[in-house]
Symmetry: C2
Amino acid sequence: MRISNHQPDFSRPIDLKNVRITDHYWQAYVNLVNNTILPYQWEALNDNVSEAEPSHCIRNFRITAGLEEGEYSGFFFQDTDLYKWLEAVGFSLANKPDEKLEQLADEVIDLLALAQQEDGYLNTYFTIKEPQGRWTNLMDCHEMYSAGHLIEAAVAYYQGTSKTKLLDIARRLADHIDRLFGPEEHQIRGYDGHQEIELALVKLYEVTGEQRYLDFASFLINERGQEPNFFHAEWEARGRISHWNPGVVQTRPQLLEYLQAHKPVREQEVAVGHAVRAVYMYSAMADLVIHNADPDLLEACRRLWSNMVNKQMYVTGSIGSTHHGEAFTFDYDLPNDTNYSETCASIGMIFFARRMLQLEPKGEYGDIMERAFYNTVTAGIGLDGKHYFYVNPMEVWPAASKGNPGKHHIKAVRQKWYGCACCPPNAARLLISAGQYVYTANSDTLYTHLYIGNETEIALSGRNVLVRLESGLPWNGNASLQVVSAEGSGSFTLAMRIPSWSSETIFHINGVPQQPIIRDGYAYFTNDWSSGDSIAVQFDMTPRRIYAHPQVRANAGRVALQRGPLVYCFEETDNASPLSSLALPKNAELKCVQDPTLGGIVAIEVEGIRAEDLDEMYTPLYRSAPPILTTPRLRAVPYTLWGNREHGEMQVWIRES
Amino acid sequence: MRISNHQPDFSRPIDLKNVRITDHYWQAYVNLVNNTILPYQWEALNDNVSEAEPSHCIRNFRITAGLEEGEYSGFFFQDTDLYKWLEAVGFSLANKPDEKLEQLADEVIDLLALAQQEDGYLNTYFTIKEPQGRWTNLMDCHEMYSAGHLIEAAVAYYQGTSKTKLLDIARRLADHIDRLFGPEEHQIRGYDGHQEIELALVKLYEVTGEQRYLDFASFLINERGQEPNFFHAEWEARGRISHWNPGVVQTRPQLLEYLQAHKPVREQEVAVGHAVRAVYMYSAMADLVIHNADPDLLEACRRLWSNMVNKQMYVTGSIGSTHHGEAFTFDYDLPNDTNYSETCASIGMIFFARRMLQLEPKGEYGDIMERAFYNTVTAGIGLDGKHYFYVNPMEVWPAASKGNPGKHHIKAVRQKWYGCACCPPNAARLLISAGQYVYTANSDTLYTHLYIGNETEIALSGRNVLVRLESGLPWNGNASLQVVSAEGSGSFTLAMRIPSWSSETIFHINGVPQQPIIRDGYAYFTNDWSSGDSIAVQFDMTPRRIYAHPQVRANAGRVALQRGPLVYCFEETDNASPLSSLALPKNAELKCVQDPTLGGIVAIEVEGIRAEDLDEMYTPLYRSAPPILTTPRLRAVPYTLWGNREHGEMQVWIRES
């Protein structure tokens, strides 16, 4: 069923098995995941990384399975670190067999089977620590959230290996939950405090064809925020206590905005509350529009997207202006040095953007997806694959991270692991599944959203087609999409995104300049394509100055630099401290230079201005004399690679003078 | 005993009874305290102010005295709100008899007598709520702090009225504490978590001549931060619990830096921890230097003063860069929109500065005392006398105060009262005792520190002298110090502070231009003064641009405006939102204009630059087009009067372009 006859068929991502990433830039990340991150994170899950915060994750499963004695440790959603790791393994195996890795995964799946309870329940926290407390505190305790990550892992592992053991475990758990919750009299009309299972259930529906999983996802989304409010009733029923302050009777419950349960999702106007919860929910909402005719829900998706992207998003494609609740604040409140910009939240934005692209191929979705991918997600992982950012600030002063409690969450150095380690495995699973974001396709059109080099097999207009995408991004602006082979004949369409950062984009087909039809940021090429046909693209890679909306107080008088999809930043190691004393003259030339550091990059050089403090002997805090200005040569590097050299200050937005 | 023979006699403040404030600017504040603030705060203490947070203060005393049944309410230091009010009443009565007010005070002093316990103990929280808990948690519970404020009130009330009833109550309490605490075997080697009693004990010594009060103050100061640490031992002894989380055994105690008890006071290098505690302690340290030869302690005072003033102070003379613990953070960390800058902390700075001036008359102390007085303390009180700021930010965006949890402490509007209402009565007692800060004097020299008009009687070189200070500050720069009458003959010195903000200060004596001896920011005039002699002073009142040290990240590229002692700010009501979009061209002329608003002020007008957002139909968050600039006429008003008209944004530091 479709919303309207005027809509094109909704497009779908391509099975990962059919997409081989060959990109010179992204291959490095894929290799990092396969060779370093997955093994490293396995060790972290097993508490084998020295000087890192321990995970306890595997141990909790072993205790639940009766293989070990001991106490539960970690957050109550610790299970999900393993689930995300397993999901990443599933994605990895879809593309690249790895016997050892698969064996490791199979063994831990056996452990999950042992840990699963008779009735299908699987959650180490409640099984070890609060067996009587199951399903009594959905508001705080993430039980469905954890189940959702198990389901996602199971789907990915099934798709990657065709093995069904994990899928069976996940289905037993999903069935258990589906029996307990729902609209029927004997069921609980409840939903989870942390959205996640909704999008997972849609995946489970897609892979099993079982309509009830889709219906359950719809129930959870539709029920959320209805009156009387489930969370309030649940809170009253458990004696007004919270997981976070055990034993203390609260005078009022958690704010519902935080959980996006303050009103029915269709009525939500602006992005509020915990950012990751929000984007996971929006993704599920878009999923439901894909599968059910639901114009109101689509309208809500568009509205929330627009608010988030046009009012509450950082230039790096990150969200969450405050660490208080890892949350959105309000329109245009985008402080640079106290923001949260959680890696996971940008991953969730990518989920949402991809689904919106499936619904309506518009450049704005692709632009933001690219922005988050190239800037924030990869910033979350150090070049060594073993250090991670949870928070992705626009500005770092290491002394303040240490000395000002309001900035303690701003880490100046990537950490080996986190007590709450949601981000590292989340980034791993996204990077290793990048192939699911490059394209979407419907029956006759292949949409290229991200210029990440790859080879992909796909059926278009009934023809089996092999395409090859080559791309110089992010360093140079040459890309091409070649039809390597195409069986049979018949017309199909290759639609290619024109990034908003490219002020002039030139297309050639087989060397002949083109003036393609351009609709909503995509160039459409419809042809009876033959083997060897090729669309060449040239993007404008001139470095650009970016200005923020004047309502963004924090960036008044400031400018950020961008080249291609990459946002740049200034690091202390290139430019000396304090970075705040630097400014860019309005007309200073931005010069691109090849730089062998950081694995080889294009840096931006510019003659800047620095307010010096030459009079070291007499330095009053306040004075009438304006600072003395010098004109040092400044260097900006891609934000996503910051903090990989000598540690120090970092700044994205620089004063313009 | 004096530190060194080369030092002049330490000077002393002048008995309030001998100083009559006649200043056109400050008289308004004195009247506000007498006519509005004292009656209003009395109502607040009695919970008679509607829509204000209730105080419960008087009620707690009535319950303690057995006059009323009920539960204790409020913070455990709620008593001090009354004590500060009583102290202000004492100051008020020193200058201006008020039968009704005195009767009110006498009645409440009778109540205090009833509430005092047999053994001299007086503290409503512990007496009502935790009679067994007395003196078991000095770290958290402010018992000596509360006693200190009672002592200060008693001294002021005695000096203002010559009545001894309150002084006797205070002495019984002081004696009770002095018996329990001290260096003897049978005593507790402890001190309070919140310094305050130390400076109060010095006052008690000064008024009673009882050496043991001075010795006890010395003990408390000298013992602080010694090893083994008293607070750690006390915390262990009470089972590792804190007042703030009753019933929860802590894994570690409160950080000692917060309480300035991390090392002996003589070894403290930088200002750390809770700002009010710090400056109250520094004041007591300076007091002890005044009374005891103690060069190490003087050195510590100078060092801590210098760190605070040259590294951690806001341009308005306020301190405390973070609301986390209402505390200092670290050098040059002076954020404008998340600072604390508590009114009480600036009051404490004034205490400290006045004492340093007694030790060494240096302009820097007077400058800062003036800065805090004219800018922060009066900012803490609305023009109506019934609304107060606890926090004094450099920049306010009301939407962020509401919508960003990291800025919830930044109130955009003065409040009627506070649950923790330390600041309103503290500001009242300071304003009404302004006469104690205008001058200090030793046997032959009268130092004029603040140009606040008054008439004062004083003995100098054995002569009874009546001087009259007239001053146009803060609006015009003409002042004069007249010897109205001087009995007998003999030389004495009139020393007058030359404010650092006056780039040229001109003196005339009886119309004759002078080139006085200038030492450390004071001009010295020694003469056999006769009745009718007059020193006229002209200050340079040209409005000035102030720049912050380049290490102050928050003010890079920004400028503040100052004229005379007043720091200026931009308010939304004069300049439209967002204020962040405004900038001052480097060479724009600062024009002074008479402005009848706010009781009549000199405003500063300047042609500024505004980044407009004209394209209202299409306003992407990030764009390549630089903002369109217009050149509006901007208006700055004295910071201390902000928030007295239409509520909105406010900004002290403005971009310079």
